[in-house]
Subunit: 252 residues, 8 copies
Amino acid sequence: MTESETRALLQAVAEGSSSVEDAVMKLKMAPYDDIDIARLDTHRGLRQGIGEVIYGAGKTPEQIDRIAHALWKDGQRTILITRMTQEAADALTKDIPFTYYSDAHAGVVGSMIEPDCEGTVLVITGGTSDIPVAEEAAITAETLGNKVERVFDVGVAGIHRLLSNTDSIMAANVIIAIAGMEGALASVVGGLADCPVIAVPTSVGYGTAFGGVTALLSMLNSCASGVSVVNIDNGFGAGYLASMINHKGVAV
Amino acid sequence: MTESETRALLQAVAEGSSSVEDAVMKLKMAPYDDIDIARLDTHRGLRQGIGEVIYGAGKTPEQIDRIAHALWKDGQRTILITRMTQEAADALTKDIPFTYYSDAHAGVVGSMIEPDCEGTVLVITGGTSDIPVAEEAAITAETLGNKVERVFDVGVAGIHRLLSNTDSIMAANVIIAIAGMEGALASVVGGLADCPVIAVPTSVGYGTAFGGVTALLSMLNSCASGVSVVNIDNGFGAGYLASMINHKGVAV
Amino acid sequence: MTESETRALLQAVAEGSSSVEDAVMKLKMAPYDDIDIARLDTHRGLRQGIGEVIYGAGKTPEQIDRIAHALWKDGQRTILITRMTQEAADALTKDIPFTYYSDAHAGVVGSMIEPDCEGTVLVITGGTSDIPVAEEAAITAETLGNKVERVFDVGVAGIHRLLSNTDSIMAANVIIAIAGMEGALASVVGGLADCPVIAVPTSVGYGTAFGGVTALLSMLNSCASGVSVVNIDNGFGAGYLASMINHKGVAV
Amino acid sequence: MTESETRALLQAVAEGSSSVEDAVMKLKMAPYDDIDIARLDTHRGLRQGIGEVIYGAGKTPEQIDRIAHALWKDGQRTILITRMTQEAADALTKDIPFTYYSDAHAGVVGSMIEPDCEGTVLVITGGTSDIPVAEEAAITAETLGNKVERVFDVGVAGIHRLLSNTDSIMAANVIIAIAGMEGALASVVGGLADCPVIAVPTSVGYGTAFGGVTALLSMLNSCASGVSVVNIDNGFGAGYLASMINHKGVAV
Amino acid sequence: MTESETRALLQAVAEGSSSVEDAVMKLKMAPYDDIDIARLDTHRGLRQGIGEVIYGAGKTPEQIDRIAHALWKDGQRTILITRMTQEAADALTKDIPFTYYSDAHAGVVGSMIEPDCEGTVLVITGGTSDIPVAEEAAITAETLGNKVERVFDVGVAGIHRLLSNTDSIMAANVIIAIAGMEGALASVVGGLADCPVIAVPTSVGYGTAFGGVTALLSMLNSCASGVSVVNIDNGFGAGYLASMINHKGVAV
Amino acid sequence: MTESETRALLQAVAEGSSSVEDAVMKLKMAPYDDIDIARLDTHRGLRQGIGEVIYGAGKTPEQIDRIAHALWKDGQRTILITRMTQEAADALTKDIPFTYYSDAHAGVVGSMIEPDCEGTVLVITGGTSDIPVAEEAAITAETLGNKVERVFDVGVAGIHRLLSNTDSIMAANVIIAIAGMEGALASVVGGLADCPVIAVPTSVGYGTAFGGVTALLSMLNSCASGVSVVNIDNGFGAGYLASMINHKGVAV
Amino acid sequence: MTESETRALLQAVAEGSSSVEDAVMKLKMAPYDDIDIARLDTHRGLRQGIGEVIYGAGKTPEQIDRIAHALWKDGQRTILITRMTQEAADALTKDIPFTYYSDAHAGVVGSMIEPDCEGTVLVITGGTSDIPVAEEAAITAETLGNKVERVFDVGVAGIHRLLSNTDSIMAANVIIAIAGMEGALASVVGGLADCPVIAVPTSVGYGTAFGGVTALLSMLNSCASGVSVVNIDNGFGAGYLASMINHKGVAV
Amino acid sequence: MTESETRALLQAVAEGSSSVEDAVMKLKMAPYDDIDIARLDTHRGLRQGIGEVIYGAGKTPEQIDRIAHALWKDGQRTILITRMTQEAADALTKDIPFTYYSDAHAGVVGSMIEPDCEGTVLVITGGTSDIPVAEEAAITAETLGNKVERVFDVGVAGIHRLLSNTDSIMAANVIIAIAGMEGALASVVGGLADCPVIAVPTSVGYGTAFGGVTALLSMLNSCASGVSVVNIDNGFGAGYLASMINHKGVAV
């Protein structure tokens, strides 16, 4: 509640056009508005109209089913469920439209929305083992209204594979670069691109790959500018952030 | 060299309007154009008209002086010098306009350019010790044509200090959240903001702060979405990326 | 054995009212009394009247059953069993009163005692995945005679959720702040509270959460004063220490 | 501002006994009161009447001098300055009463206040090298109004030295156990005491002492209950928390 | 495409013996030829005539079967499959010649080729538990046309076992030294040999062996010159590199 | 082969009492004798008459059975098998005398030999969970001819339990101190004892116990002199070394 | 005070041959005797007649001078001062006999005592940079009455250098193996020796030597039995423990 | 001493053409020959005719001067001195020919020898800060008789710079790839080259570069085959190994 809104409300009370009780109720909610609860909620629940996201890890199929139906009942028409097992997907009561993306270990209740901004989010991976993380990122970005291009298995050890996609890299509005092992993809892509690159280390590799730590460190030390990093295997986080950046062009 | 340019050149050869030797020379340079060298160069040297950046660490005052003058002679009118010591600043031959920002350990040869896009980059820190990194980020963003707002010393231990800046957080187009110690600032800001948050861990702290590693890990595990991370104390990287995101609104 | 007690004993020997052998036996035990063996025992077994605690991890259902019955036979009327599996709970011979708290993975033989001190122990968590650790802390504090208030899932990414519980935070006599991932809850709560905050990092998270190490480091570097830390997932230790602090008000 | 206070204010507006402008101003401040800004401030600045604490590390002698005088002018009569060098102490303008505690690397402007609660804070160390951290803890607790007992150099390698202080351990209301190297002191003291033990790892040691990390890990894994840990070398934090716990007995 | 080839092509266009469209197509592919795509491919796929390598880890028996048959159909006559389970070996459709090397967890489709260079690759291990990694290295080198000598279980704790193989060490053209635990084998062999030593740390050991990290660090710090290191358990990489070095003698 | 033995052999050749071929064969073996192969073998296989040790981990029951019978056939009458599962023990063909020590996860083929030296090896643990490692150490020492005293579950958190065993600590010739968690036992025992203390960290604990690393670091930094450390959970190594030290008194 | 001594004292009181007051005084000291204070003191101060050890690190030359003179006045005739700088050595008031061993960074006040046991302590190093640690170990062992043999710079990279000292290794009663970098010396020596080997990692090396951590880990994982480890650069601890083991032969 | 040599010697003894004493002396030296001492020496001292290498770190200018002159007097005509400071270079008595390579921190006494094998060693770096390590590698390879090509500052962030050197990469016989920060150079070069790549991580970078650890881990996890790694900043080791591989072509 802004200062002028507060003043208007008080004026209404002073003038008798608002009862004290009504004003109490409105002001009682104000602290939350002041720290922008509604906005926060829509923020946390992603942009209004796109719907809540259900983090499936650690939830039973029953819990996921219950939450999904509750959101559906509330009017959400695109509900993303991440880290969802095939078992949970099978267990979902099918009285609501549902698609399971097994590569992404993700499900979408309702229909995938149309892209609502112009830029493309390029999701690019070093290897085929990085694809589950890449698909999580891609599906996330798509459910948030982004056009997504996928370029997989173009690791730097065969640099020509990567270079043959230079056009896609140049054309992207934001890039999600996903790699395990030594994570060098982020640096090379970062050097080729002139848009923000979100680097996602994956737990692909063995021995001193240390479950993604090596790729993470490599990406944090990228000699290319414009690269930032999210947690290991965090495809959702990258897709979410990419959508945020991609929608900047629309809002400003 | 694009496909159509190549076709035009060959047509000229076929028609005799270009000699074979001239065409050989043009095509010989093409591979670099094909992988877009010019663009890469302008990319690496930041956007044309903004100028090259000189990374001052490990360079002698003489080297910095020489490079700065060379760039100036080449026509660059805004040259950012990061990690520049007071000593190097004093040693710079003053036949070119120069301003030293001691808090940022940065210098700018020429004049700071006017903001060329509408959004604001909010630079926010947890403590006063984080200010050098924050100023490096801010000066970088400013030399790249961004409007920058600074909110310093609003660490989460006194949450009201942070909350009293909710308006700035809400209004920002991209936020750079800078903190050492436990780095919780990124999570709280990430929860309040609806724009991308670039988290910069700093080496502020002692003992188990481990020179910024604790803040880094904390930021990578932020429970808020929309947060990505750069290397410890990497104010320049954050400012550069923020500018990239902030300019998205203009180009699209 | 104090100096005067020793003198009295020797006097008795000198006077013949104590035999040498009796005095030998008494003096033989003295060193232990000097370091207060009895008191130590009651210390280790928690306050008299509250009973022993059985650490269930690594014990077979049979072993737990045997120890529980032995303690019950010894007269203990509130016996806490931590890290107890559902299987062990099912296997407990039910000739003694028993309640299993599945969320806490804990069981209590006998009846939960009434709070015997005035202050409230607030158990607060960042997420729902932290609840098992939180319940272990809460049940521990309750079996030790504390009033416990639970506030769960108020992580800092949605700061308004936490702030709407400011009253509880302000009213608590001691707070147990439990969080995984980046563990920022401890810092924010520590900044709001004016009572001791015991931070418990949990192994919730993935990738660079490193099984709770990130939350631990974050909590150790809290920029708020009055925060101390226990081992990862150590709900029992936090509940025990909270009870110790909470009972200070009674004894002094 | 409670609901009833809000109602009363609105009633006054409705009745004309409060102008709209006055009500706006009062409500404008409410959000902060709601999160209890005043209390927060006194919290952060420690208990009223005891005064602000100045963290001396990273501040120039001039800055310390200026802040100390400002606080003195504001009426603070006990101002603790931690991590203060001898040089900074010498540089302090001596128109205000000042004592420098060189062992603690701390200074106190004004007079040390009398203990205002009954319990004793026992500060105990494993070796003589731990004394600077111990003195920081002790001086902090004393400036916060606690009776402090010091027992230094009673490491567990000569367990009789420690045991000969069993009485002090038993009598304490809260104990600060400070040790470097293997940090075993916390476990042994924790086993002997029946009050909260705040363990402070120190950076004393070499090789695999890893600057205090070994002591820290050791203390976090203490087999004794009632032990919690603060950051390496954090004497101030321990003294502050000890005072918080020690004053519990007074308030309840 | 070399300069003379380009000149020839342009001459053909100028002379009309090549259409513009054909030349466009050829030039479009040129950049890749310039960075030697064909060579890269044969490089990545190992030397022509030896065939592709299938990394079996993370592939289903069906996927392995399908790829192996595709390569066979393409004319590859020696196809190495690494990290192949017994299950995958059993599942391979046996209409193509196939041998499974269970110690190496590797299979070879087609026939093992004859050594095509003179030097010997010595594969030497510290213990018997290192044999699976050693066999992966040996089989890899053999499928790449190398003579391989195996000397297993000659760890440094019984130095005479190692010394009795001094002749083999002296005669080798390149040595692969494989060890877990403290990895000292690499240093001792490195001191005895006058040829390159490729050290492979293995995950053999327990406790502070840290899954091969200790052996890795030990090998990186070898006091002997001529020793380099590959990733933990990376028998394939060592065998591949050994073959590369061993074939140097042929090509130069 | 000593110099005098060599001289004698050559004299025999010179005198014709040894053929050249016989001398060649004898000298051929000499290098190994020179580095004392026989002794090495008996060393590695432990003292003659005590027999070989079979490291059971990673061996199938069949392999263990086969090796045990081979050694028995070779005349070994006390064969220690460490890290032996109950399953392997059950599978051992019982045509040879065999005892399985389930606590130690160890088996002994043949009969336990009588102590052949006077000193006592004291095996002492912090908790009951350390017993498997302790029993491995104890059984190892016993099969090597040592008198062993066991004192278990005397962790430092209840220091009186440990002190009540001061006599045993004082009387021991060598002590094996075994503990997990914070490993403080080694320091306290090291301070009480005047004989060598072999510290064995165990993987007992959770969270920051880091699988025994914390106990290891703690023990390496023991403030008591006379303490050395072996690998985590290495009961066998400690028992073996203790026997070596304990037998010093006999041999000198 | 043993049970029989206590009985005798009481008997004397009963018989009047001891006054009650005298007995009180004697018993008052008993708790310390019971936990063996005298013995502990002589233990901590090393064997009676050999004298106290002064740890010079962190002590001013004046403090060292004062303590050394105090001990000398108390009758100690061999006083070891470890980690003593040349500066401190120069500053020592020379009214007492004193020798400074610059290689060992150690000084000895009084005269070095004669070996009082038969066995030899072999101090062996991998390189010349390990000599300071080796000399600290050697001087320590010598001041404690041991015969010491030094064999330096026989690292495993030139195994023949080590093997040419096989006789010394075989003849030693206890070996101190000192090495930095990869620390393989301990394993090779451990395999050759049939006596206890105390391994001392040193901070010699660079990069991944990690200040001695690599050598430490390597030594803890030695594939040879009979090897135990002390802290990085802890020459004193190794010399002290070696003396303890070496003197076993005398006492039993 | 080979078997046939031994037989010949014994025959001589049998025939009286060698005295027993002479044979004793010859056989006494044999064990060393058997383990090939001479060869080892030439190995350790590098190939005969090339000369000894002096590791200058930790040696005083006087020590370096003395050793260099001793080697020169012994007839060595190319003496490499690594990690040599300018000060040590200046202090070298100039009665022998000497060149100081300041970039490499290396000096060469005598004359640089001509390449004695055909292949080229390519030394390639990611940045300019890596040049000191690169020059150490290059000078080492040159003093060992190799043709060296230098390509510096072609980091992957500007991939075209690297690709424009594809010819050099393709033409090399062995490549030394040197990089700090994220170390991605090794992977990209490894993917382009068909010869062995020795990767050298450097300590260039800040924050999470961790003094070269990140580059090291990245290189160990290179997705390209044919890449092995040496210690951080170990230019000498890389140059030495490169020479070993490069000379393979000559010897076979």
